[in-house]
Amino acid sequence: MRSGRESGKPADDDRSSRITLTVNGVDHDLTLDNRTTLLDALRERLTLIGSKKGCDHGQCGSCTVRLDGRRVKSCLILAVTLDGRTVVTVEGLAGPADLSPLQAAFVAHDAFQCGYCTPGQLCSARGMLDEVARDWPSAVTEDLTAPVELTDAEVRERMSGNLCRCAAYPHIVAAIRDVAAAR
């Protein structure tokens, strides 16, 4: 993982920059308005509409994607700062043949209703499970130095950056627990 963000090269009109962005395994050479967020670049330029705009202020989590393996809110990042970086969106979660275990578990547990927060929930859950695998503690972790045990309380705490107004929360927790148990 890179330590800092890379800015793209200025384009001719000094309002835009050129970057290369890898999204779901595909390299894109893009000239982007410097004001364009990663979320808008994904949705409006790359037509990857799976990432959702719920608040545009980093408050709801609907836009969560994975950037170089970590979950981020794509509405809070200017795309031109991401030259050479790698993004995975909800469109990149499924395998060529079938749904990922998390996606399948979300369907099986009815872990959504309207579905608008769902891409963000899935990307967030994916990132969260990796954080747990690395034993990163959360606000509810009792022993900060011991391996993290993925309890319901841990899942709830770690998924609280992703709001769901339909309130599928208990089903989201159950889906994530299922996948974690199978790991």
Partner: protein, 699 residues
């Protein structure tokens, strides 16, 4: 117990569009591929009341990529008198802060947003009044309350019966403004071609959107098509056409190109509606055993100067519990604010918070268990209309909930249980919601290959309607469900009412079942011809001919809370709801609906509060960082159950509706549990820790 289901209905089934939603391929309103698309950005008024004296768009038009700025001086004209909340960009008048007064259209989102920032508007302002108060000089009696109930009702002699009652309770409850906040902001893509208007809209019903746009723009309805295949929640706020669809259509006509226009999160806190704040006085007169003789519920809420909306806050009290002498009233205060609108169980939700809290207070006053008190006051006929109930299983819900919750072991003493730093308490509340049906039209089509397509302009805003209708259709056709396709969410489909009032499955399902039954009948005598066979059915006559009965769903909420004895922080350990909602078509999606409503009640009780700044007449906490809705960590243990209920007097789907009853009463159950935990009665929501802090029992 009822017999186990033999067909599709009654079986758990994942929602049909589940795969699309988890792969990010389900398209919402501004996510359709559109050639030559432009972006609209709505500009809200910065004045609270007055007139626009000047608009300067020069700086905006100088922004590279900005195409145009629409405002009252140049926008295409709309027909007046259709819907005053949608008569946008037509007049210089400003009715409330945040009202949309301009739209910037640009080649990119960034340019549109920058352009919107640079629109300069001067206003001639007038003094405004934006705070609800029971003594407001504009207090008046509306002619009816939403959606057409009588404003006031009276039976017997409340005043005399209350004065004579052994136990008298006279309390006032207040609820703040609540904001629906669906995760998908209201949004529209609009395009005109050859005089026809095509919109993708985030709405709970595209049939009314089609009709309204046709009227506003003076078009034959068949030239307007409105698609709403996937909708990111609504909770009432998308139950009628709202500003974005009108603004996008105006803008697309002005620039003669397609326009995508999504509101920002901040813009969702006024112009698209909200739940009015309420002030509710509840009086109960009872005997020493808690039998209610007199009940009165006086509700005050607010409306705007644009259009009247009268929340039916006290209607819940009319039919919920017995009592010979009863009165309900509704009064409105007309303010310089956005027009309040539907939010999940308008009326029943805030009204039940007040009445179910008052019943808890009465139980305490009489020394009667609050479950038993409700059982004692069960009604045998509707106290409001005098009509029999089609079915009424409130007591069964209370009994079953009490059994599951181990309620029998409860010590009624408030403030008496402590676990470490936590004060523990439990609370109960009843719930009811009307079981209505409206007319709809559906078609059922048979193809020669043995498959079927059923069409109805239902809208699935996340309720699971698409899946439930598919299950109902399969059983009505008596074929395996995998041979049936269901199409919803497009005004080109047969017309149907909005997803609202918990009447979607009842209304749409009625039409679907009748169309499928008729098709099946036709196919008894004939093979499917090569071109297929389609039947269309409207339920208008059948719905109108329903016999008059009081039709309600019922429920009972049981809640355990813990309250931090030092900080006053309230946590909900457990919510348990038992419901009697007729037949449950799909347990998978029904459970999600019920726990979703219950959680919104938790959120109402503890978290949500629109805070108005009187100087500007607008809510200061207009985003999701400062207007708190329950998050994942707030919901610990939550369970929803339902009773087997066969009610033959409902509708062919035999359903009562489940979208709203989960929120009715749930906030009261939380508040009642907080009282049991602490001895503190909070009568103004939300129950914030600062309201508890200096009143908690000493440790």
């Amino acid at each position: 117990m009822s017999a186990p289901p033999v067909g599709a209905v009654g079986r758990e089934h994942p929602r049909l569009e589940g795969r699309d939603k988890v792969t990010g391929t389900a398209r919402y309103a501004v996510e359709y591929p559109v050639d030559d698309v432009t972006y609209g950005w709505a500009v809200p008024a910065a004045a609270t009341r007055g007139r626009i004296s000047r608009i300067d768009t020069a700086q905006t038009l100088a922004v590279p990529g900005v195409l145009d700025v629409l405002h009252h001086g140049n926008a295409p004209r709309l027909a007046p008198g259709v819907d005053d909340t949608l008569f946008l960009l037509q007049e210089p008048t400003v009715h409330y802060r945040g009202e949309f007064v301009a739209v910037v259209v640009a080649e990119t989102l960034e340019a549109a947003r920058e352009g919107a920032r640079l629109v300069r508007i001067d206003y001639d302002t007038e003094a405004h009044s934006t705070v609800l108060s029971p003594h407001h000089p504009s207090l008046y009696r509306p002619d009816t309350v939403n959606p057409g109930y009588p404003t006031d009702t009276a039976e017997g002699d409340f005043d005399a019966a209350f004065a004579a009652a052994e136990v008298q309770l006279d309390t006032t409850y207040r609820t703040p403004a609540y904001h629906n906040n669906p995760m998908e902001p209201h949004a529209t893509t609009a395009r005109w071609r050859d005089g026809r208007l095509l919109v993708h809209d985030s709405t709970q019903g595209s049939t009314p959107v089609q009709a309204t746009l046709a009227q506003l723009f003076g078009l034959p309805p068949e030239t307007v098509r409105v698609i709403a295949e996937h909708v990111g929640g609504g909770f009432g706020s998308k139950g009628a056409p709202k500003a974005p669809v009108v603004l996008a259509a105006l803008a697309a006509r002005q620039v003669d190109r397609p326009v995508r226009l999504a509101l920002t999160r901040q813009q969702l806190f006024g112009p698209i509606g909200y739940r009015t704040p309420t002030i509710q006085r509840v009086r109960l007169g009872a005997d020493a055993d808690g039998r209610i003789a007199a009940v009165c519920h006086d509700a005050i809420s607010q409306t705007s100067k644009v259009q009247e909306f009268a929340e039916q806050t006290a209607v819940y009290t009319r039919s919920m519990y017995a009592g010979r002498h009863r009165r309900t009233t509704h009064r409105l205060v007309r303010l310089d604010v956005p027009t309040p609108f539907w939010m999940r169980a308008p009326g029943e939700c805030p009204g039940a918070y007040a009445l179910e809290s008052a019943l808890d207070e009465l139980a305490t006053a009489c020394g009667v268990d609050p479950v038993e008190l409700r059982v004692r006051n069960d009604a045998t006929v509707d106290p409001d209309s005098g009509q029999p109930f089609s079915s009424r299983n409130l007591v069964a819900c209370l009994r079953e909930g009490a059994r599951r919750f181990d309620w029998a072991d409860r010590d009624p003493t408030p403030g008496a249980r402590r676990l470490g730093r936590w004060l523990i308490g439990t609370g109960v509340a009843g719930a009811s919601y009307p079981a209505r049906s409206r007319a709809a039209t559906a078609t059922a089509a048979a193809a020669p290959d043995g498959t079927f397509e059923v069409r109805v302009n239902a809208t699935d805003i996340g309720t699971g309607a698409r899946t439930a209708l598919w299950q109902l259709a399969a059983d009505a056709l008596a074929v395996p469900a995998d041979r049936v396709a269901i199409r919803v969410g497009d005004s080109d489909l047969p017309p149907a009412p909005v997803a609202g009032g918990s009447m979607g499955t009842a209304s749409w399902g009625w039409a679907v079942i009748r169309a499928c039954e008729q098709l099946r009948q036709r196919l008894r005598d004939t093979a499917v011809p090569a071109e297929g066979l389609t039947v269309e059915v409207s339920t208008a006559d059948e719905v109108r001919a329903q016999r008059p009965l009081a039709r309600y769903a019922y429920g009972a909420h049981f809640v355990q809370v813990r309250v931090d004895a030092d900080t006053g922080e309230v946590r909900v350990d457990r919510m348990l709801g038992v419901f009697a909602v007729g037949r449950v078509v799909n347990p998978t999606t029904a459970r999600s609906q019920l726990i979703g409503g219950m959680t919104m009640g938790l959120s109402m009780a503890l978290h949500e509060e629109g805070l108005l700044d009187e100087r500007y007449g607008d809510w200061v906490n207009h985003d999701l960082a400062t207007y708190h809705i329950s998050g994942c960590a707030d919901v610990e243990r939550i369970e929803a159950y339902w009773l087997p209920e066969e009610d033959p007097d409902l509708n062919p789907a035999r359903v009562k509706g489940i979208g709203e009853i989960g929120i009715v009463g749930s906030a009261a159950a939380v508040a009642n549990a907080v009282h049991h935990a602490t001895g503190v009665r909070i009568r103004d929501l939300p129950i914030r820790l600062d309201k508890l802090l200096d009143r908690l029992p000493a440790g």
